[in-house]
């Protein structure tokens, strides 16, 4: 198990390195010059002054040199400074945004997992009943509703029309911090983030459980006189969860994308909002830093998924 984790961590580091190269190259390929965003547009600089600034920021060096310079500093924990917020280092800027994003994603995924798995179990056990058909229709609607639509509809109905939830940000401005206030702000974006994932998890759980319920060992459990409730929960669900865990692990990367969007709609002060504003400002160091941190988080989560998998399924522990 330890060698397994060590090997996965090593692979993760290589992937991070590749990710940083990819983002670095993509940014330089994108149209636009970071200098344009850096200078004050109402006070144009002379060509010499621009060249001097370019040299001072290291933007005149060849790309590999620029990248290696960034990498050397990054390895010591120095991700550079934001080109938009004068003198603000990237690392603390990124780190202070992680908390809200993790909170939003964790809440969204928790809702998706609980709702998706319970609905999937209900659907499989009551197969072809009205409840199953209803849940399946709901799931298809959920899978085919893009976040930009559900986020705006949710905002319109629950914040604007019904006034049940605040329309944005993490806390009430000006008010002292309180957990109920935070939860009140969290519910709507988290639920909207969860919709697509809950629907997907439900479909997987239903299919997986239906397959497991036909397995011989489920019949064996019934032959032993196990109560039907425990046949489902103890003997079938644990086996049916295996493919669902893989699904959940691999959707977390996708959930980051959804979170970026939802953070923009709900003005949620997380990584997504930071990344979106950094991209529109061509704040290269912040984009690099934020991407790297998100990439690292996804790699760690995937590792945790594999460990969970091994904990649930004894067959893969040895190999």
């Amino acid at each position: 198990m330890t060698t397994f984790i060590a090997r996965r961590l090593a692979i993760g580091l290589v992937m991070l390195l590749a990710l940083s190269v990819l983002v670095f190259v993509l940014l330089r390929l994108a149209p636009g010059d970071p200098i344009d965003a850096y200078i004050n547009p109402s006070a144009p600089l002379s060509a010499e002054a621009l060249a001097a600034l370019r040299a001072r920021l290291g933007l005149d060096a060849p790309l590999p040199v620029q990248y290696l310079g960034w990498l050397r500093a990054a390895l010591t924990g120095d991700l550079g400074f934001s080109t938009q917020r004068a003198g603000v280092p990237v690392l603390p800027l990124v780190l202070e945004r992680i908390g809200p994003t993790i909170l939003l994603m964790a809440a969204g995924l928790a809702i998706a997992i609980v709702a998706g798995i319970s609905a999937g179990i209900l659907s499989a056990v009551r197969r072809n009943s009205a409840a199953d058909v209803g849940l399946s229709v709901l799931a298809f609607t959920g899978i085919s509703s893009p976040a930009f639509l559900t986020a705006l509809l949710g905002l319109y109905f629950f914040s604007v029309r019904l006034g049940w939830a605040p329309s944005g940000s993490m806390t009430t401005p000006g008010a002292a911090f309180s957990v109920p206030d935070l939860l009140h702000h969290l519910v709507l974006p988290a639920v909207i983030l969860s919709i697509g994932h809950a629907a997907l998890i439900m479909r997987y759980m239903r299919a997986s459980l239906l397959e497991v319920l036909n397995q011989d060992y489920v019949r064996t459990a019934r032959a032993k006189g196990v109560r039907e409730f425990w046949v489902i929960v103890k003997h079938a669900v644990r086996n049916a969860l295996l493919p669902v865990i893989t699904l959940i692990g691999s959707t977390i990367g996708v959930a980051v994308g959804g979170a970026i969007f939802i953070e923009s709609v709900f003005n949620w002060p997380g990584m997504g909002l930071l990344l979106v504003s950094a991209v529109s400002d061509r704040d290269y160091p912040v984009i690099m830093g934020a991407t790297l941190v998100i990439g690292a988080a996804v790699i760690v989560v995937n590792l945790l998924t594999d460990i969970t998998y091994a904990a649930v399924d004894p067959r893969i522990r040895v190999s």
Partner: protein, 335 residues
């Protein structure tokens, strides 16, 4: 003879398939005394597994159901109770406790995510109210009883860490956990190597003798029947066509189907003799009829060398040919 543990009368089990009801088992009478082994023999689809699932109350819900008949079962309480029409909860309390089942596929009939010990301990915790520790200790003892070396270590292992033969021993240990009065073994040796088959048969025979259990042994293998059973019931297309003691039925088969089955069993040394004579191994001509499309009268008539017009008029009754031997052939005295 003691009062039977299991006494099935006039059982009829139907399956709903595509809006039609098909009769999977009909007019079935079967009785097993304590300590006795009865083999139920037949090809796939003959209704032998459906019969065992009917007894266990494990017919697929909404698809299969018992349409008629009684299944009197004398469990640990000592009183005969009819399993037909019993509530699902009452049946559940008997399953794994008073009656237990061993299945065909040892590879898939154990749950891959629980240890062997946990799975053997489970029925004792459910039915006998044993604590986790008591049941775990009893599970290790059971593994020793079924001849698994180093049982304490094996109990902590998962099914995938055991060989096929050892897994089948483990499922037998699981079935015996609550000391049932009736053990139903549904092709327990079919999926195993021949040498392991013999070991498992010996084990079942030994355990049955020690515990005085009644055993219903479902198989398609006549060699296995000869080795383990006291009496045999041959099934064809949902009905018992011949029944009697193993010696009687094997030495003097009174139904053309049984005769055909016995003739088609390959014997050691026979293959070379047949090859020399240029004749293939005898087979029964034709195929098993579909339950959806059974012929009128005797279901075997279209394949039967002795068939006459009278055979297609009505389903022949199970005629007593003497000495507890019965045949569902109207021409049994002639053949």
């Amino acid at each position: 003879m003691n009062a039977p543990v299991l006494d099935i009368r006039d059982l009829r089990t139907v399956f709903r398939v595509g809006g039609r009801e098909l009769t999977a088992v009909a007019d079935l009478d079967l009785s097993i005394a304590p300590g006795e082994t009865v083999a139920l023999v037949g090809e796939s689809g003959s209704g032998k597994s459906v019969t065992s699932l009917s007894v266990m109350g494990l017919l697929p819900r909404k698809v299969g159901r018992i349409d008629n008949g009684t299944i009197a079962f004398r469990g640990k309480s000592g009183a005969a109770r009819d399993l037909v029409g019993m509530t699902p909860e009452a049946l559940r309390q008997l399953r794994g406790n008073d009656m237990a089942m061993v299945f065909q596929e040892p590879m898939t009939s154990l749950n891959p995510v629980y240890t062997v010990g946990e799975q053997i301990a489970e029925p004792m915790r459910i039915h006998l109210g044993r604590s986790r520790a008591q049941a775990a200790a009893a599970a290790v003892q059971l593994l020793a009883d079924v001849g698994i070396p180093d049982p304490a270590r094996r109990a902590r292992q998962f099914p995938h860490e055991l060989s096929g033969g050892m897994r089948q021993r483990a499922t037998i240990a699981m079935a015996l956990a609550c000391d049932p009065k009736l053990l139903i073994a549904d092709e327990p040796t079919t999926a195993l190597d021949v040498t392991i088959q013999a070991q498992i048969l010996d084990l079942l025979a030994k355990l049955q003798a020690e515990r005085g259990m009644a055993m219903l042994f479902v198989t398609h293998n006549l060699g296995v029947v000869a080795e383990i059973a006291d009496r045999v019931a041959v099934m064809y297309a949902g009905r018992i066509v011949e029944t009697g003691t193993v010696d009687e039925v094997f030495d003097h088969p009174r139904h053309p189907y049984t005769q055909g089955l016995l003739r088609s069993v390959p014997r050691l040394g026979q293959a070379t003799a047949l090859k020399r004579a240029g004749t293939p191994l005898p087979t029964i001509a034709g195929a098993v009829p579909s339950l959806a499309n059974l012929p009128r009268g005797c279901a075997f008539a279209p394949r039967c060398p002795y068939a006459i017009d009278a055979c297609t008029v009505a389903v022949p009754p199970l005629a007593d040919t003497g000495g507890g031997h019965g045949s569902r052939c109207i021409r049994w005295p002639e053949i």
